[in-house]
Structure formats: structure tokens, C-alpha cells
């Protein structure tokens, strides 16, 4: 622990934080950003059966998961103070059509498990 503190102090004197965020010459940059891991299961409200092809999307561009045969999804999205999720049936032709939920607002932990029941159209 003491060694780490000395190292931090010396690094600070010499070049501030730049020294701690190094990257290997043939590697990619480091990653210090906070994320939320969102996983869960989507079922039909009436039958309690899993629904495939439901897109659960955060309001951060490009971050979403799509449910598999078991109705399960999992994805990472950047951590923000309040996160808006949209739940949308992207394949109404295949397994019936469901009402989208588009304003699920949550204050996330770094890991969330959501059980979602959707109403049929």
C-alpha cells in the first residue's frame, strides 16, 4: 500500500495523471468509464411465457439488448444518473405483438436485473 502511495506521489510530481493512463505500444487505449450491466427477462403478461425478439434499449445511442428464445437479454450501457429504457417489440409478426413501454426511468446501480411483463396488443 505504501509503495502504491509513493508511486502515485512521484507520478503526480512528474506528469500528473497522464502517466497512469498508459497504453501498450501495440495495444488500444485504456478504459476507465463507468458502465451499467443490464440483464433480465421479458415475458407475456397474460401467459407468463418468454418472448423472443424484444429490444430493450437504453437512451444512450447504440446500447441495447434483444431477447433470445428464453426471453433473456443482457447488455452494457454507459452509467448515467438516470437512465431511460425503451422496450419494443421488433418482430410483431413472429410471436404475437406486444405493447411497447417507452419511459422506464431508473437510477441504476452498476448491475441491474429486470423482470418485464408485456401486454399483448
Amino acid at each position: 500500500m505504501k509503495r502504491k502511495q509513493i508511486k502515485t506521489l512521484l507520478g503526480g510530481i512528474s506528469f500528473t495523471t497522464a502517466l497512469f493512463v498508459f497504453q501498450a505500444c501495440y495495444g488500444m487505449p485504456q478504459d476507465m468509464q463507468d458502465d451499467v450491466f443490464i440483464q433480465g427477462k421479458v415475458v407475456s403478461q397474460s401467459t407468463n411465457l418468454p418472448i423472443e425478439g424484444i429490444k430493450v434499449e437504453s437512451d444512450i445511442y447504440e446500447h441495447y439488448g434483444v431477447t433470445d428464445e428464453q426471453g433473456e437479454f443482457a447488455f452494457y450501457t454507459p452509467w448515467v444518473e438516470s437512465l431511460r429504457l425503451t422496450i419494443e417489440d421488433t418482430d410483431p409478426e413472429s410471436a404475437g405483438s406486444y405493447v411497447s413501454k417507452d419511459t422506464v426511468l431508473i437510477t441504476p446501480e452498476h448491475e441491474l436485473f429486470l423482470n418485464i411483463a408485456l401486454e399483448e396488443n
Binding site: 506528469f15 498508459f22 495495444g27 485504456q30 478504459d31
Partner: protein, 348 residues
């Protein structure tokens, strides 16, 4: 030059960092297959590799020996071309489940929108793509017409991601040196925030092609370009940490040269070998995950990396700046190891 006080503090910092040798950065050479046949390939990769891809479970078993990973610990998927593996998303999720980060180094040829999204949602936090010139010179080095169009698409996707820590790397050779201002403008228009420039070290296929290597004057011209464009401040342009560049040190990078191979950087190679960066001579291999414990090897071995006084010989023996350089980048010690393959400072 950096001020004497900063330099002194840096030397002490480097010593402390070496004594601590915390593993922060672990390369996984997850495949040696490659979909390109680049003229400069240091690994001499081929479409059909001699070694099969390492199974995910074997890699994860080794990863699980790291009992207390550093706070900023990251796995770098490398190859060959990692995107040839279909299971990167599974690997990525497993790495994240262990509280670790991951990223990838890719030639971008297979990086389309579908893969971009699936990797991002599997927790990929960092990405490096290679662009080696404008269309003609990129396709020449990559040895495949049409590869520029593919990397152009990949760069567009990655640069627009809000989440990715993304940079572009460019290997500078005789055919693209004059293009640097054009590449800069291109990257700026694409929204790229960080650009690293490399030279090509004479190993693998690059050993036999003189066009790939810069003369001393050309090398200086590249560093002058970096110096000038860093002043603009609208993109993080820098020389990679491949070697010590004397009086250019404070002009072409944020921090002084510090080769962290075996100090903070380790690797698991395709056959399970444990080493530092994957391009380091294989005679420096320290163990193998199929018979050794990764964490234990990292703690107890890597002596040649953490005490580099053995490099004070050959070309380095009478160098006045050895204290700053410590034998240049470790990947420069190949073969009989009498001298480094390249002395960057000596080219200036």
C-alpha cells in the same frame, strides 16, 4: 526537453512502478489467423495459422488466477485478426463479469455495423484500428485492394460511438510519409480524437522490404510533423511508445518514454505461452498457462524485463542517454540480442 525536476521525479516513479509491477494490461493473442496478408506483418500471420485458436475456457481459467486485478486492469484482444473469432462477445461478457475491462486491436476489415453493436453491448470499452495511408498506400501495405473502403467504414462507426475509447494507428513508411497532412484531415473529418504514429520494426515480413523503413531524414520529418500537429490541439496526435527519441521526447508524447513490457504489460500467446507484449522475441517467454499459474509467473518471473541492465551493451554500451532509454522498446531485442534492432535516438 522535460525539466530536470520532472525527469528526476519520473526516474523515481519508474523505479517505484517497476518494483510494484502491477499487471494492468494483458494481451490475449486469441488467434493467429488473419484475413489480410500485410506487407509489414511482424507476426508473419497467414489465413491458415499453425496454431488453432485458444479455447475461451482455457483463457478464462488463466485469467481467474489473478486474484486481485488492478483497478484499471484491461484485456487487449489481439491476433492475427481477432474479428475472425465468432465468440468475442462471449469472451467480452465473461471478462466484464470478472470486474475487468476489455478492448481490441483490429485491422477493421470485418468491423461492420452489426459487429460494432454486438461488441459494444458486450462491454467493449476500447478499440484501436489501423489506417496505413490514403487509399492507394493503405491498400498497398494491406496487400489487398478494397481494404481502405473497409477501414473507412470501420473508423466511421467507431469514431461515432459515445462509449468507445478509440484511436487510429498508422505505420509510417516511405509511401505514406508525404500523406500525413491528408490523413490528419481525413481523420479529423471522421471525428477521430486520437491518432498514434508508428514506424515499422524489421521483424517478420517487414524484414525484407526496404520501402517499409524510414531513412534518418524521413524519421525526423515524421517527428517534426507530429510536433507541429500536436500544437493544433484539436486531435491527440502522438508518436507511439515504441522507442526513445531523445530531444523529441517532450514534443511528440505527453510523458517520457517508458517501456512497460513485463512491468505492467503481460500477454497470453496463442499456444498458452506467457510473455509481455506479443511482438517480443519468443525467447523471452516466461511460462505457459497450460502448466503454470499466470499470477505466480507474473509475480515471480519477468526478471529480464524488470532489471534491464543486461541491455547496456552493444550499441547501448556507450550511450549517454541510456538512463532515459534503458535499451529502447523491449521488442527491439531479437535474435542474438547483441544490440537493439533499432535505435530511434541514433536516427536523429
Amino acid at each position: 526537453m522535460f525539466s530536470p525536476l520532472k525527469r528526476m521525479a519520473f526516474h523515481k516513479f519508474r523505479r517505484a512502478e517497476t518494483r510494484l509491477h502491477e499487471l494492468n494490461y494483458l494481451f490475449w493473442e486469441c488467434t493467429t489467423r488473419c484475413n489480410l496478408n500485410c506487407l509489414h506483418c511482424g507476426s508473419d500471420c497467414h489465413v491458415d495459422a499453425a496454431h488453432p485458436d485458444m479455447p475461451v475456457e482455457d483463457f478464462l481459467r488463466a485469467l481467474d488466477t489473478i486474484d486481485k486485478p488492478a483497478r484499471n486492469f484491461i484485456v487487449a484482444l489481439t491476433g492475427g485478426e481477432p474479428l475472425l473469432r465468432k465468440d468475442l462477445e462471449t469472451v467480452g461478457m465473461e471478462i466484464r463479469k470478472r470486474g475487468m475491462r476489455w478492448g481490441m486491436v483490429s485491422n477493421g476489415h470485418l468491423y461492420d455495423r452489426k459487429r460494432h453493436l454486438s461488441l459494444l453491448n458486450a462491454g467493449m470499452g476500447a478499440l484501436t484500428l489501423s489506417l496505413d495511408g490514403m487509399e492507394e498506400s493503405h491498400d498497398w501495405l494491406r496487400n489487398r485492394p478494397g481494404s481502405y473502403a473497409r477501414i473507412d467504414q470501420a473508423i466511421g462507426l467507431a469514431a461515432n460511438s459515445e462509449r468507445l475509447n478509440f484511436d487510429v494507428v498508422t505505420c509510417i513508411h516511405q509511401r505514406n510519409l508525404e500523406e500525413l497532412p491528408f490523413i490528419y484531415n481525413y481523420l479529423q473529418n471522421k471525428g477521430v480524437k486520437a491518432w498514434r504514429l508508428f514506424t515499422i520494426i524489421p521483424i517478420g515480413r517487414a524484414k525484407v522490404n526496404p520501402e517499409l523503413h524510414l531513412s534518418d531524414n524521413e524519421f525526423r520529418a515524421m517527428l517534426d510533423f507530429i510536433t507541429e500537429y500536436r500544437k493544433k490541439g484539436d486531435m491527440d496526435v502522438k508518436f507511439s511508445c515504441e522507442g526513445y527519441v531523445g530531444s523529441y521526447e517532450s514534443k511528440v508524447r505527453d510523458t517520457p518514454f517508458f517501456c512497460r513490457a513485463g512491468i505492467n504489460i503481460g500477454s497470453i500467446l496463442i499456444d498458452g505461452s506467457i510473455s509481455a507484449c506479443p511482438n517480443i522475441d519468443r525467447s523471452f517467454i516466461q511460462g505457459n498457462i497450460y502448466k503454470d499459474n499466470l499470477q505466480q509467473i507474473w509475480q515471480d518471473k519477468f526478471k529480464a524485463f524488470r532489471d534491464r541492465r543486461w541491455t547496456h551493451k552493444g550499441e547501448c554500451s556507450d550511450c549517454k542517454e541510456y538512463k532515459e532509454c534503458q535499451g529502447n522498446g523491449f521488442h527491439n531485442w531479437h535474435g542474438d540480442k547483441d544490440s537493439p534492432l533499432v535505435c530511434h535516438k541514433g536516427k536523429l
